[in-house]
Every structure is written in C-alpha cells, then in structure tokens.
Subunit: 212 residues, 2 copies
DNA sequence: CCTACCGATCGGTAGG
DNA sequence: CCTACCGATCGGTAGG
C-alpha cells in the first residue's frame, strides 16, 4: 500500500544474502536444542528460535514448517550424536557385561555435555504425556537403549556369565532408569557429585548379583 | 479505594455465594495439580486453572496471588501426602534395609496414583533448571528422601548389616534415581510393566552386595 | 516451480 | 469475587 515499497529488485531488496542452507539448518538445530533444553518444548517459541538465530520467524518456517518438525529434527540429531558415541569408542562394541560397564564411560562423557543432558531430561519430563509431540521420540530412545542392553545380557548368557533366573527385563529398565534419574539429580543440584561413579556402583551390584 | 466497594455485605450483591474458602483452596489445589501434571508449569495458565475450577482468574488470584504461590502450595501438599504414606504404614518406620524394602511398597502404591507420579515427573523435568520456580522444591524433595535412606543405612550399619566400605552416597543417589527413572518409563509407555518389581530387583542387588 | 527469506499481520491468550 | 482491561507475545500464514 505504501509508496515506500521497494521497487529496485536488482538491489538487496528481497533476501539479504544467499547464505548456505545446510549451514543455516545446522545453526538452527543447535540454537533450537539450546532453547528447548532451557525452556522446554512448550516454553520455546518459534519466534524465539528465529530471534536467537538472527533471522525472521518466517525465515525459520522456511526451514522447519512447524514447531513439531523442528523438534523432531533436533531430537533425531541428538540421537545420531549419541549413537555414534556409544558405538564408536571401540570399533566393535564391548561384549556382555563389558558393554554395561562401557555405559559408565558414556555417563562420564555426558558430564562434559550438560546441554545435551539437559535437553534429554527436559524433553523426557514433558514427553511422558502420550499426546506430547516428543513421546514417540522418548519411547524409541528408550527402546533402542533397552535393545542394546538386552543384547549385551544375551551375550553374557551365551558366555555363561548370567544366572539363568536373572530378571533381564527388570535389569534393563533399572539401568536405564538410573541413567535418567541420576541426570535429574545432577542437573538440579550444582553440588551433586560424579554421576558415573554412582552408576558404576549400580552396574557392579547387578553384575555381582546375576553375573556368572 | 473505590466508592463502588461492596457496602451491603448481607445481600447477594458482590460475590455470588459465600462459598467456604478452605474447601475452595482444596479444590484449587487438586485442580491445579491435575493441570500442572498434564501440561507442566509453563504449559499451565492461571486462567486455565480458574476455568477448570469454575471461577474467574481474578477470583483465583484472591487465593493465590501469583502462579508461583500456587505451584508452591501444590507441591507442598504433594509432599505432605507422600510423607504421610512413607511414615504411616507401620507406626514406627522400618529399620535398616527393611526401610529400603518398604520403598518397594511405596513404588507399588504410586502405581495406583498415576496423577501424582505424573505431577512429580513433569515438574522434575522442568525444575532441573536452577532458575525454575520449582527447583527449590525438587532439591528439598530429593534431600528429604536422601536423608531418610541415609538414616536407614546408618541403622543397618549399627546392626552390623552394612559393609564398612559401602559407598553410601552412591547407593542413596542410585535408589532415588531408579525411582525417578522408572516413573519416566512407566508413564511414557502404557505397556510398561510393574515398576515395583523392577525396583525390588535393584534393592535386592544392593543389599546382597553391601548388606551384612 | 525453486531457494531464501522479508515486513506485517491474523485471531486468540498469557499473567497480572 | 466481578468486569474491564494492559503490554506482549503465541504459532502460523499472507503476498512479494
């Protein structure tokens, strides 16, 4: 309507610069991960993410059409990094109980990544609701972790290193629960000591009780 | 200040009915607990709580001047009920490892109270942030629970039922972590089995490892 | 029909 | 406890 509308299409009228879209996506994912971890999904706004990236809200929507799309991309990226961390250290991952003990290293590694830990804990708290957009992610994350631990215990059994009456399901769920729960205490209390040491105590107790 | 201030306290001029204020408070606390557990603190609005109680938002503000006040009252009430549950079953609470085993009953009891479990888990997820209004509650809740478990382990030590080199702090934190973490899995996955059984497996393993 | 955004604004709701 | 509002911001979409 205004006569001041830009009429020189060959100048820097429309978009500012032809920034690389892959780099932009990465920047958005990193920024969104930080905001989701600090404020939760519900507490984070698309315009807030856009502002933190130095772009407009509509520019953000170009990359991620909905808030849900952005969330899925952020959590998928988190799991990619995480999976790489669990599998990579040794080329073939540790066998049997040694895999459980290698999770102690993962917990120790996580202590250097408070942002990642915070993202997981904050999202898990919201996503327990079956209607939450991250519920599917949360359950898949737990299922994948459970499958890995279960496979390791099956190897232990093959090697004669697991009691025949060991409650495998309970062991799996308790190990995952301890990792999740220790993160809550560690994040909420700045004076909370080493998570890895606590977790090692659990693995040791379980192995002594049901290991061969 | 205003000249329109209600001057006829005997008529039904201002407020609709002289509802009992204590009953109203209880109703608000129960309703708010439900909404906080479903939507989180950030996802719950004062006007939403008011609507669910069939009152106006300003009416609600009369009872709880700020959203923070409402939150504190809800969480304090939750802990009151919870503490009564832990202490009451036996008149004097179980001694030593038996207290740890009595926590299995608490976990079993919680399975009949999904609303309470959900409130705790949702709030814990948000409140890991030191700037969150429920952070103080979360840390106090964990500290009180930790003190109880530590006291029980001290009794076990007195009775010669605890190894001298037992890592008491790690045991305490791991037990709490397992309770918190099992709730996440149990809430998020409708097909998840008995939390109490899983938790009992942990207590058994810890007792066999460090019990006398 | 594409990428990479812009300034402006929609109807509705937040805590107070 | 009510009506009547505030400054701001929500997720999402319009045309260009």
């Amino acid at each position: 309507m205004s006569a001041a509308a830009p009429r020189s299409p060959r100048r820097s009228s429309g978009r500012p610069r032809g920034a690389d879209s892959t780099a932009r996506r990465e920047e958005i994912l990193a920024t969104a991960a930080q905001l989701f971890s600090a404020e939760g999904y519900r507490g984070t706004s698309m315009s807030g993410v856009a502002r933190a990236c130095g772009m407009s809200q509509t520019g953000l929507v170009h990359y991620f059409p909905t808030k849900d799309d952005l969330l899925q991309a952020v959590m998928d990226r988190r799991d990619e990094i995480d999976t790489a961390q669990v599998r990579a250290p040794a080329e073939g991952r540790p066998r049997g109980w040694e895999f459980l003990e290698s999770l102690v290293d993962l917990v120790r590694h996580n202590q250097g990544q408070p942002g990642i830990v915070r993202l997981f804990t904050t999202m898990a708290g919201e996503a327990v609701d079956p209607g939450h957009p991250a519920n599917t992610w949360l359950r898949r994350h737990h299922r994948v972790t459970a499958d890995q631990i279960r496979a390791a215990l099956a190897e232990a059994a093959e090697d004669g290193r697991l009691a025949g009456d060991a409650p495998v399901g309970s062991i799996v769920r308790t190990v995952i629960a301890a990792m999740d729960g220790l993160q809550i205490q560690w994040l909420s209390d700045p004076g909370c000591p080493d998570m890895a040491e606590d977790f090692a105590v659990l693995v040791d107790a379980l192995r002594r009780r049901w290991g061969g």
